[in-house]
């Protein structure tokens, strides 16, 4: 999957399971500013584990990785690419 597709899947999950109706986030939106707290972030990490098959380690839980669905998608794409 390309980063844009991954970002769309993440955005759809967040809007369905975390955000209030009428307050959707977009792939480039800042998730912390959108109100995602510890539990909401945990739900996103569990979604990534279920959909993409890995758990993001603590050392990668930095602001740059978690800033937006697109930033998370870029991280997931890098993890999926053979190095």
């Amino acid at each position: 999957m390309e980063p844009d597709q991954i970002a769309d899947a993440l955005t759809a999950f967040i809007n369905t399971n975390i955000m209030a109706r009428g307050h959707p986030v977009r792939p480039n939106d800042d998730l912390e500013a959108a109100g995602l707290d510890s539990m909401a972030l945990l739900k996103v990490l569990l979604f990534i584990e279920a959909e993409f098959g890995f758990w993001i380690p603590d050392e990668d839980l930095v602001r740059d990785t978690l800033r937006s669905p697109l930033a998370l998608a870029n991280y997931i794409r890098r993890r999926q690419s053979p190095s």
Binding site: A20, H23, E32, D37, D58
Partner: protein, 431 residues
């Protein structure tokens, strides 16, 4: 009234001789004194659409569940708005502790009240403090902030229609799931809670028979922008709980308290994100963190373990089940409520309290005509566990509030806890 609220009320029977406070404060510091008339006017308008600030706690005779009841709109008496002037922050602090220690009796009094404090040696340069005090089971901290947002909106809007578009939601929507399904989930959560503390937890308040006054300490910090640790991980409740656990393990060690596992309730805000959500009712579920004092030696490792615990609880549906159980407990008699705590009816509750009360909303950057400088919450803790550590942010300030019961913890011990947390967060103290 949800399960956690009923447990709070039921816990009071442990200290029948004293009036135990269930007050919680939201303190908002503004750049100039606030006019009480503006709050009174906004409250009057608010009561026109929502009666709960003027309600009383009632139980039908001879049997029935505790509930909030309010009379017809014309008969509602608004909650009091008082004003004080003080010359220094030390005097302000005494006023705030007096607010904590004047328990609201919701059967006789309105469940909330306002205090305006003008603080400064000269009126021309004084700062204004708005103090919203409420009976904790009326609202959670987010609800308190929502109430202020609604009052601020009513204050700034002169027209008849207080709000364009959909009206704000004052209370949560009922759970649409069938009763049978909710009953199954609720019973499952109660069974799970009974497995959490095979050994009852110990707290600084254990054995305290004559609890003293509620005290608190608040300090403001800024994040060190030059810190190499640019991780969001330090903003997570698991990191903060691990740090507070480390500080508490130091207290346990100095006191010689038994090294039984810590049991700490972690509140989970059930509101969908991006919208203010309901105002009244504690709209929370609970996760119960368990770890030993020895594990706190490795804060990063403990934070990982606590995150794994929370992830397991989400995977297993325990957070959702707890939310349902909180709703279901209001069908049970108050006298039995303590049985549903993880440690059963032993009277021991949790090792300590810890919560991140998140951001003070940016929409409240101005309040009743003045700029907001800082805002923080001070929940009174019960004599058991006797201490609670609370975080919140009011950009750019990171607030750390510790509330405790005199006799359970000393001021020196609180100062040590503050220092451990400050150091672990790499925060710089504000002047």
């Amino acid at each position: 009234m949800r399960g956690a609220d009923l447990v709070l009320i039921a816990m009071q029977s442990l200290w029948a001789r004293g009036r135990v406070s269930n007050n919680t404060l939201l303190v908002v510091q503004c750049d100039a004194p606030i006019a009480p008339e503006r709050i009174r006017r906004a409250l009057d308008r608010f009561l026109g659409s929502c009666p709960w600030p003027a309600a009383r706690l009632r139980r039908p005779f001879p049997w029935g569940k505790l509930h909030w009841a309010a009379g017809p709109p014309a008969a509602l008496v608004p909650p009091p708005v008082r004003r004080r002037s003080v010359a220094s922050y030390a005097e302000l602090h005494r006023e705030l502790e007096a607010e904590l220690n004047s328990p609201i009796d919701p059967r006789r009094d309105p469940p909330l009240r306002f205090l305006i404090v003008d603080c400064g040696p000269e009126p021309a340069t004084a700062q204004g403090f708005l103090v919203l005090t409420w009976f904790h089971p009326l609202m959670d901290p987010r609800g308190g902030q929502n109430l202020l947002m609604q009052l601020a909106h009513l204050d700034s809007d002169e027209g008849d229609a207080p709000r364009a578009g959909a009206p704000p939601s004052f209370v949560p929507d009922p759970d649409p799931r069938p009763l049978r399904e909710r009953g199954r989930l609720g019973r499952r959560s109660l069974r799970y809670m009974r497995t959490l503390a095979p050994v009852p937890p110990v707290s600084p308040g254990t054995g305290l028979t004559s609890p003293g006054l509620v005290r608190f300490r608040q300090e403001g910090f800024v994040e060190d922008q030059s810190s190499a640790r640019g991780e969001r991980a330090t903003r997570e409740i698991t990191w903060r709980l691990a740090l507070v656990g480390k500080a508490m393990a130091g207290l346990w060690d100095r006191r010689g308290l038994p090294a039984v596992p810590f049991l700490v309730p972690i509140s989970v805000d059930l509101r969908p994100k991006g919208d203010a959500g309901p105002t009244f009712g504690n709209w929370l579920a609970f996760h119960f963190a368990r770890f030993s004092p020895a594990e706190t030696a490795d804060v990063a490792g403990l934070a990982r373990a606590l995150r794994a615990q929370m992830a397991d609880a989400v995977r297993d549906g325990q957070i959702d089940a707890n939310a349902v159980a909180m709703e279901f407990l209001h069908y049970r008699p108050l006298a039995l409520m303590r049985r549903y705590l993880p440690a059963g009816s032993s009277g021991e509750t949790f090792s300590f309290n810890c919560a991140d009360l998140v951001e003070f909303p940016a929409t409240l950057e101005r309040l009743f005509g003045h700029s907001v400088v800082n805002a923080y919450h001070v929940p009174a803790v019960l004599p058991r566990p006797g201490i609670g550590v609370f975080f919140n942010r009011c950009a750019p300030t990171n607030n750390l509030v510790i509330s405790w019961i005199d006799g359970a913890v000393s001021e020196e011990e609180v100062a040590q806890i503050v220092e451990v947390v400050r150091d672990g967060m790499e925060w710089t103290r504000l002047p």
